[in-house]
C-alpha cells in the first residue's frame, strides 16, 4: 500500500479550558475526475474518502468525504475530556487505496 510519509499531515492539538482543539492539514490533490489536463484528457479522480480520528485509540470522529473538499484538506475538530499528553491519531484513506496516519500529543495552549 502506498503509505505516505509523516510530512503528509501537519497536526496540532491544544487544550484550551475543557476543550481540546485539533487542527489538521493534509497534503492531497483532491482531484474531482472532472478536470482536464493541457492535452484535453480527463485527470482521473483522486480524493480522500475516509478520515478517522482517535483519542488514545478510541474513535472520536469518522468522516466520509466526496470530491468537494478542497485540495490539501483542512480540518478542525474539538474534543471534551482529553488531557495534556493524550495521543490523537488521524488516518486518511483515498479512492486509490493510498493512506497516511499521523499522531500528535495534546499540549497546553
Amino acid at each position: 500500500m502506498a503509505t505516505l510519509n509523516a510530512d503528509n499531515m501537519k497536526m496540532r492539538a491544544q487544550l484550551k479550558g475543557e476543550l481540546t482543539e485539533v487542527k489538521v492539514l493534509m497534503s492531497h490533490p483532491m482531484e474531482t475526475g472532472r478536470k482536464k489536463d493541457d492535452f484535453d484528457r480527463l485527470i482521473p479522480a483522486h480524493f480522500v474518502q475516509l478520515v478517522t480520528a482517535t483519542l488514545n485509540g478510541k474513535t472520536v470522529l469518522e468522516a466520509q468525504w466526496g470530491t468537494g473538499i478542497s485540495k490539501n484538506p483542512y480540518l478542525t475538530f474539538r474534543l471534551k475530556g482529553a488531557k495534556v499528553g493524550d495521543i490523537i491519531q488521524v488516518t486518511w484513506l483515498d479512492n486509490l487505496g493510498e493512506t497516511a496516519t499521523q499522531n500528535i500529543a495534546v499540549t497546553q495552549a
Binding site: G66, L75, F77
Partner: protein, 152 residues
C-alpha cells in the same frame, strides 16, 4: 461436509485472504464504509435519501460560518457548529455543485459537534447542513456568492 474438509477449506480461504494485496484490502474497506450512492449522485435529494435523511426540521441551533462572497470557489472555509443536544452527525451539501454532498461527519466519545473545513463551490449556492440527533434531522442553510468557479 466432513470436518477435515471443512477445516482445509477454511484454511485455504484464510490464506487466500491473507495474500490479497493491501491495496485491495483498503479498497474493500472503502467500499464498505464510503457511501458511494450518496456521494456520486448529482441530485441533492438523492444524496439525502441515501444518507437516510428525512423530515428535516429547520433549526437556528445550527451555526454556519462562511463568507457572504467567496472570491475563489476552489477554497471556501466553512465552520459548522450544532447546538442541538445529542448531535451524532453533520452533513454538508452544496446545492449547485456537480455532486452536492461534500462531507459527512460522525462524532463520538466526547467529540464536539463542531467542524471547520474548506470546500469547493462551483457556483453561487446555498451551503446546506443537516444534523442528525437521535431519530430526528435538523437543517440550516447559508448562501455564498461565488465569483470564480472552484470545481474546474
Amino acid at each position: 461436509m466432513q470436518r477435515r474438509n471443512f477445516l482445509s477449506l477454511l484454511m485455504g480461504s484464510a490464506s487466500l485472504l491473507v495474500m490479497l494485496p493491501i491495496n485491495a484490502w483498503a479498497a474493500l474497506l472503502n467500499a464498505s464504509l464510503w457511501n458511494k450512492a450518496a456521494f456520486e449522485t448529482a441530485k441533492l435529494n438523492e444524496a439525502s435519501k441515501n444518507l437516510a435523511i428525512h423530515d428535516e426540521i429547520i433549526s437556528a441551533d445550527i451555526q454556519i460560518i462562511a463568507p457572504d462572497r467567496a472570491e475563489n470557489g476552489a477554497i471556501v472555509q466553512v465552520e459548522v457548529k450544532s447546538n442541538i443536544a445529542n448531535t451524532e452527525t453533520i452533513s454538508i451539501f452544496v446545492e449547485k455543485n456537480p455532486t452536492p454532498l461534500i462531507a459527512h461527519f460522525k462524532f463520538s466519545n466526547g467529540a464536539e459537534p463542531f467542524i471547520v473545513t474548506r470546500i469547493k463551490m462551483a457556483d453561487t449556492s446555498e451551503i446546506k447542513v443537516v444534523v442528525k440527533a437521535g431519530s430526528q434531522y435538523f437543517t440550516h442553510s447559508k448562501n455564498v456568492i461565488v465569483l470564480e468557479n472552484g470545481c474546474g
